[in-house]
Symmetry: C2
């Protein structure tokens, strides 16, 4: 058994069952080891940002790490933007980054670079495997590190000769600590805050945003009158009819300030104190009002669900949460507007859907229209680096093959990782991509106004405009093996979207407006 084989056996034995790969020469022994090992599904991606984003989506839905296979420093670099997003989403992941053979390092070959420094920017755990004897244990440690709450990016650098040399057998993954439980003091303090009756918000983030955590928060809300709200961007939020469905902090600076201005008390459960996504001249960076008090019930790595249930019990909040009643907007007709987009998605969203939301400007109103739709998951971009959506939809579809994945994409965003479509086609994934083709970086036009740059001239407009030429998304999708349709009315969208939801397999809808 060579080093690569001992590594792959360790990964499979440690529960890593999917690898999103973009290999090169230095990873050929790893590829060859995958060939000879049962239990690992290999998914080829034609760009590394697709691989890392897919591993993020997989981790969010499977709650277990996938591996990536990346080629040297530049291959890792191409994956960094989506690793940044995954890191902010606390998605566990094990990156395997091939490196030159240790004997080759002294030559400073063309592809040599400082892989460790690049990896550290986005990884909680980084190690270069130093020998074939160590590589299995290194892989086991990488898995254990990834599984540490709330979820960590591990990056293991694999020199080619460590992969091809003779090694021992696989290693076992060390025990991983569970999430820490809240202390009595934090629960008592939160209960005291809630009993004061001041305007109070329970601000939720991370793993509590599932059915059980939300229902505990809903019991507290019902008993105390506190409001429950999610962070601005959430890795995975369970919502819809029959769930305790919450809103989130809006993105636009003026809206978020207005939304939070009246609260005096913030109880943080897996969330951080709310701050602005960007800074603006003459606007505050904190979204909470001066003088508001922050109380931490659970850190992101803590067991926030247990803490919420304990707090509810402490408060005697015995009435169950008020669950969202089923409701759907009527299917809209006529022009495409933000409201008719919301109504269309709300009218048609299927049960169990996984919505990967990178709709940027166009999707701001979607939450209100979909809150009573059949139960579904909503995934957002925690890190803000665009190009996350289509790759994440790949990983979500592989983790949950029986659920429909709906990728809502701004046209500007979708271009960054457009190679995703090919992998969706190859793997026959059940993903419907909706491209909101407003043919501009529309969000930036809005941001210019927020920044006091209200009247951009022709050169600035050109930098924010995706016309000349218009992108033809249906043609690009066809070029990567995915059928699609272009629509320019909401009626046509509803027909195309309904058809795509009833069918299986990848499909793309370009909505021009």
């Amino acid at each position: 058994m060579n080093g690569a084989e001992s590594l792959v056996h360790t990964l499979v034995g440690g529960g890593v069952r999917v690898s999103f790969t973009n290999p090169g020469t230095s990873e050929m022994h790893f590829v060859s080891a995958l060939d000879r090992t049962e239990g690992m599904r290999c998914v080829l991606c034609l760009f590394e940002g697709v691989a890392t984003g897919a591993a993020d989506g997989y981790a969010r839905m499977a709650e277990t790490p996938a591996a990536t296979l990346l080629h040297l420093g530049p291959g890792l670099a191409n994956g960094i933007a989506n690793l940044h997003n995954a890191n902010r989403a606390a998605s566990p992941m094990v990156n395997i980054v091939g490196d030159h053979a240790t004997s080759h390092r002294k030559y400073d070959a063309p592809l040599a670079s400082d892989i460790e420094s690049a990896a550290r920017v986005v990884s909680g755990w980084v190690r270069t495997s130093q020998s074939t004897g160590a590589v299995a244990q290194d892989a086991a440690d990488a898995i254990a590190a990834a599984l540490a709450p709330p979820g960590v990016i591990s990056t293991l650098i694999l020199p080619a000769d460590v992969a091809w040399g003779e090694a021992g057998g696989p290693a076992k993954v060390p025990a991983v600590p569970a999430r820490a439980q809240a202390g009595k003091d934090a629960v008592t303090a939160a209960a005291a805050v809630l009993r004061k009756g001041e305007p109070t918000v329970l601000l939720l983030g991370g793993h509590v945003l599932r059915k059980r955590g939300l229902e505990a928060a809903g019991r507290i809300a019902r008993s105390t009158g506190a409001h429950v709200i999610g962070e601005m961007l959430n890795a995975r939020l369970e919502r819809g009819a029959g769930r305790f469905t919450i809103d989130r902090i809006p993105y636009p600076i003026d809206q978020s300030l207005a939304r939070l201005k009246d609260y005096r008390q913030f109880i943080l459960v897996g969330a951080k104190p709310p701050i602005a996504f960007f800074a603006y001249p003459d606007k505050p960076g904190r979204l909470y009002p001066p003088g508001a008090e922050m109380h931490v019930l659970a850190q992101p790595a803590d067991d926030g669900v247990h803490a919420l249930e304990w707090l509810a019990d402490e408060l005697g909040a015995n009435e169950p949460a008020v669950l969202e009643p089923p409701s759907r907007p009527a299917a809209p007709t006529g022009a495409i507007t933000f409201d008719s987009i919301g109504a269309a998605i709300g009218a048609l969203l299927p049960e169990g859907a996984i919505v990967v939301d990178e709709s940027v400007t166009s999707g701001r109103g979607l939450f209100a229209f979909t809150k009573g739709a059949p139960p579904h998951d909503w995934l957002q971009n925690r890190g803000g680096s665009i190009g996350y959506g289509m790759p994440v939809s790949i990983g979500a579809a592989i983790a949950c093959p029986d659920r429909k994945v709906i990728a809502l994409e701004g046209d500007g965003s979708a271009m960054y990782t457009i190679q995703s479509l090919w992998t969706q086609a190859r793997e026959e994934l059940d993903v419907v991509s909706v491209i909101f083709a407003n043919r501009s970086y529309r969000i930036l036009r809005n941001e210019m106004t927020n920044l006091g740059l209200g009247n951009p001239g022709p050169k600035a407009i050109d930098m924010l405009d995706l016309r000349r030429p218009d992108l033809d998304w249906v043609a690009m999708a066809a070029g990567m093996g995915i059928p699609g349709a272009r629509v320019d009315t909401i009626d046509a969208f509803c027909r195309a979207f309904g058809r795509a939801l009833r069918a299986r397999g990848p499909y793309l809808i370009e909505m021009v407006f």
Copy 2:
């Protein structure tokens, strides 16, 4: 004048006349400043790797830096792979990377990351501008750093509040040292080596690979019998009829070892001792034979042209170099083979063409077929990170609007930065892209054999295969506004290529074989 304006004025005053941009919210004041400043051409790219690769191509042909505009750490990260290539090519470049306002740093906002650490991996000069008062001088220093021989990647990090705050005027670029001239000892030593008459090679790299440096090397070759050869990968090589046209070290390990095995003396002129691109079990990392002696006539930052001319004079090498006679292969017919590809390119290559070569496997034989074609430049990937070709062709076309740019692309490679096609269309660049659609990572199939992994199984084959589904390059190009044709015979290729060369503007040919 705000900080962004003082920065843009400094760039323009310092000779930076093109900016390849992919902006975000934190760069809006910079975009707005570009709007109000004459003298800077702004080229929008839909992915950051396109922007950095374009700046590389521009620098290679214009011999002056372009700027890039990138959005925060993840935007820089998306550009790192092509910055790695540009760094290895010693292309001068000034990256402007927006950052959160300094007042916002303490909040660890979603897009915050360690930009400096990521930048250092691929930059020779990195600075975060600390104040509006300093930003103009920072920009001037960045330009000066970029211009230091042989050419440096400068990265200036621009916090949003440094851009929007009130600043003074622009700053002047400090004086830049010229290339160091060779010392008499090095010239005398090289002359002595050449006079010995042992098998000797002049190994050239960097800026000497232009007409004048090559002709000096050619004088030496004619006078001494030494051979002249280029490094394996060269940023820009002038060649063709009427030039002293040289070969380069081949990429495949067995060929490169065979090519160099008989030389006893290596005189390095802007080149490094030749080493293997990758390590292989049981093969040497050094490409030169044991016992061969290395002599440095000029380091990459030195004035190698002056050194070669001095050495030629020292040797009394008064006969001019033997220049390449005009010759073209006959236009081929029939099947597509590596030889017929070479013949077709050689038969049709127009005078003044800039060939951006990322043909990987398919283009290995092109040098022999094109050596007598009308004079042209040949650009290669110094850093080896694939996805360099289409972006570099953008920059080359902008630097040299009167020359035809021919991007020779493997299909696997072209996918990494496929967004390049849109910028080619928007800017109406005179670029003909030829996609060698062998529908696999063919090079890796060959490398598996070199690595002793000769019989890949189905899972490994799947990781190297671009079928299921086939990529339709003509459809993808059309989706980004570029016309194209698919050919599957060499006759059809010659017709399509000839037509594209006679026309102006971007065109794509997919060659299926």
